[in-house]
Subunit: 504 residues, 2 copies
């Protein structure tokens, strides 16, 4: 494994910086903390005695949707002395911009254990949720003449984000397939696009600096790139020298295969031999980091989907040089993420770690194991919801009549449904030219039957370039209150498709 | 009072936007929330049942530095249903980018009660601390050819912030005086600078778009602009058409005058007739907002100094059009501030409001009154610390020997000390050319006697332009553990000055 030093990374990756970032200078107006015995009268930090909060008690449930209001769960006590390594006197204070020490160490240990990078010389920086992180990443990388590739359907705010830099976005064709080996970015077309850039449709743009990808449980398609595809994409990144920005909010929410004969099978609940280690080793798909021999991958990870979006807490993993640039952006913008959010996460993972530790102060390893039990439980509930939704979608009359197809996702929160257009529609030469009007009409009909969905074309990087594949709707299993509501919604979807197709 | 509508504000203030901001387009991929009865399957929001936190209990002290660990204080309980208008199921969820409704209403009521703008058509947007807010403000306003004026000594990160936009900073001369009428920006010189811009030292730059000022308890000087000076500066802003960015982290920490004969007098503690209303009406200096007939003031207010910096929670007040632009910046960067931080503030202000309310759900007015008691208490402790520090600084041998002067601040956390150079030093023509070396040497000596301070020149916008006034050191009374430590530090400062002057 190559160990990169900072100087090597700097000389290797400086050319990827935006001119604006490269020109950045930071003004620092005081020196490092004084030595022992010196009274600190420098920084404008209020003494912790000025904070109105004396202590915080958290009540933690033992599994999602616990009915008895956390009575079986953990209790976490935090005050100005506790937890020892990250008490409230620290987390309510101005804190390190890169995140508080113990939490950063925890995040590093998570990466080492679950997705160890294939090189040495990487680092971690906390951010205020992945939206904030991706803004900083693209601010560091992009100028007006930069190009970034994205999956043709994607988390739309990232498009605003890249365009805010004045940079250009280029969609990359995807395969929308139930076959795990086929899912996601069409690697041959990606290779072709880049090999023939100078004669292709984007020849007026510079070659891409980066590929942004939601590699697992992609939003909106639910597709997951197989390890083989990841390796091929990485080789293309090496050949054409671009960075890979891997946004992974859904990676821990992996779905075991769906069995239509036993729709309620759920390996998370049925497999009594399931352990955190097995979940990590056998269920989760490995990050691009694990094949990143060149230090060209920037991974975005978040606590939003596994803990709570309201934390606005996430972290970035990348080579030390790029992490320093992202850190510098934070220094002049947000500074540290909320210390309260950090305290809520650290307090809880530490308490969860005690189960796996014989010491009163659990090791980082125990904390990672303790914490990973929670995403595993959450993934179990998502798998259950996936089962409920699939079963309900497959039992409607609309489905029996062949009016829509379910694009089975491999992970995450989303299920996409594709209308099955009748042959006479498909054979009209203007069918896909009118696709937006048709999808809008479908949307209206679905709203009338009582479900709100997201239209695929609204999440297209370039609707024209994706006009023949953008005819799907995205639904989420994340927000419903219970199984019954999922079933009801799916049945309404079936009715909606019936109503729509009866009028065309 | 003029009521501005959005269109008027837009046509009036669009010319202040940076080109980058003006070009910004936001991609929105779903419609507004569905009507009643429609099942929401659109947004990627996890159900609150997936959040591991069941409930949070906060223990709040009744006054700063309370010894019995909050036993007399309030207890705030929050769970997925409580507080009714902003329960954890909301604050742990994705929330409105501009801040959560109840907290935004509270902030608006604070402004209405304490610093009502002199026009109608203003709004409020939450941000992740004032560093984040000012980044967004300058991102919205500044291009590479923009100019921003700042007090010649200022909170240095704001310089990085403006320079990050490629814009230029111009220092504005200050009067460093103990006379409240004289303190802060030298208004005559400001008028002169602008009236004669085209022949002045900055004629190569565009005329300024904005003045950034810490108008009360300025950092680092502790100076406060008098109401008369504020009115004159506002007239200059009207004449030369620039915006005023008023950063006010210290405004609530106002100091009553110091009485050298009764150094421990403290109106906050001694005046038994003191009420929140009296504190607001008679103690606090009114914001530029209160004279802002044109809607040209952007006010930054923060919970960092009054509640806790670790919250990373602040808000911006400005006209609706500019607030929309700042909001748009948040939409593509940070999105909402931490919902946990918002919950901690709202839960506490609501509980504090109950004291002033006969209802179980206190009104916004009661909440503002209840909350303002806390800054009033904090200001009392800061005044006490100011007294302790002044007394200690004035009783040293160094002071008796006339080696330094105390620049008495009117508010805030900082006290500046100026060396009294002997006549033979002052009369050397190169005295001020060598000032940095001298101040660095003083700093080394102070470190040796055991205190760390901030050097004034490090906080100068342009050291050369301020070389004859930058010879001060800033100390803070905010961070010390207790009176004894403040006394010890001040005594060491006296010794440090003695040691320094004995060697020059």
């Amino acid at each position: 494994m190559t160990q990169f030093d900072f100087g090597t990374l700097k000389s290797r990756y400086t050319s990827f910086l935006s001119r604006r970032d490269a020109a950045k200078e930071l003004v620092k107006f005081w020196d490092n903390p004084p030595g022992p015995g010196v009274i600190e009268l420098a920084g404008g930090m209020p003494n912790a005695g000025f904070f109105p909060i004396d202590s915080i008690d958290l009540h933690v449930v033992s599994h999602p949707f616990e009915k008895n209001h956390g009575k079986n769960g953990l209790k976490v006590h935090m005050d100005k002395q506790e937890p020892k390594d990250m008490p409230l006197s620290m987390s309510l204070q101005y804190t390190n911009t890169e995140g508080m020490g113990p939490l950063v160490s925890f995040a590093k240990k998570m990466i080492e254990r679950i997705n160890p990078p294939a090189y040495g010389g990487w680092n971690v920086c906390m951010a205020n949720g992945s939206s904030d992180a991706m803004y900083k990443v693209f601010e560091v990388l992009c100028d007006e003449d930069s190009t970034v590739m994205l999956e043709e359907f994607t988390f739309s705010p990232v498009i605003s984000n890249i365009k805010l830099q004045g940079a250009s976005v280029v969609p990359v064709k995807m395969q929308l397939s139930a076959d795990p080996e086929q899912q996601g970015i069409d690697v041959d077309r990606l290779a072709d696009l880049l090999d023939n850039w100078s004669v292709g449709p984007y020849k007026h743009l510079n070659k891409p600096k980066a590929l942004y990808t939601v590699a697992t449980g992609q939003n909106p398609t639910g597709m997951t790139l197989s390890p083989t595809k990841r390796r091929r994409i990485y080789e293309i990144a090496q050949k054409h020298d671009f960075l890979i920005v891997e946004d992974d909010p859904y990676g821990y929410l992996f779905f075991p295969p769906y069995n239509p004969k036993e729709p309620m099978n759920n390996a998370y609940w049925d497999d009594k031999s399931l352990t955190v280690q097995k979940y990590v080793d056998d269920y989760l798909v490995k990050s691009f980091l694990t094949i990143d021999t060149d230090a060209r991958v920037i991974r975005l990870e978040t606590f939003s989907k596994l803990y709570a979006p309201g934390l606005r807490l996430s972290f970035v993993v990348a080579n030390e040089f790029l992490i320093e640039r992202i850190f510098n952006m934070s220094e002049v913008t947000t500074r540290a993420p909320s210390g309260v959010s950090q305290a809520l996460v650290y307090g809880v993972v530490k308490e969860m770690g005690k189960k796996y530790s014989s010491e009163s102060e659990p090791s980082l390893d125990s904390m990672v194991t303790g914490w990973m039990e929670w995403p595993m439980k959450v993934a179990g509930y998502y798998t259950h919801r996936r089962n409920v939704a699939f079963k309900a979608l497959y039992e409607t009359e609309g489905y029996s009549k062949g009016l829509y197809q379910v694009m089975e996702p491999s992970a995450g929160m989303f299920i996409d449904l594709k209308p099955c257009w009748p042959q006479n529609e498909l054979s009209r030469p203007d069918h896909y030219d009118l696709i937006i009007e048709k999808m809008d009409k479908l949307n209206q009909t679905l709203l009338k039957t009582g479900v709100q969905v997201v239209l695929g074309y609204r999440m297209a990087v370039d609707v024209k370039a994706s006009k023949d594949t953008c005819d799907f709707v995205r639904i989420t299993i994340a927000y419903a209150n219970d199984d019954q509501q999922i079933v009801e919604a799916c049945h309404r979807i079936g009715k909606g498709f019936e109503a729509y197709f009866s009028h065309i």
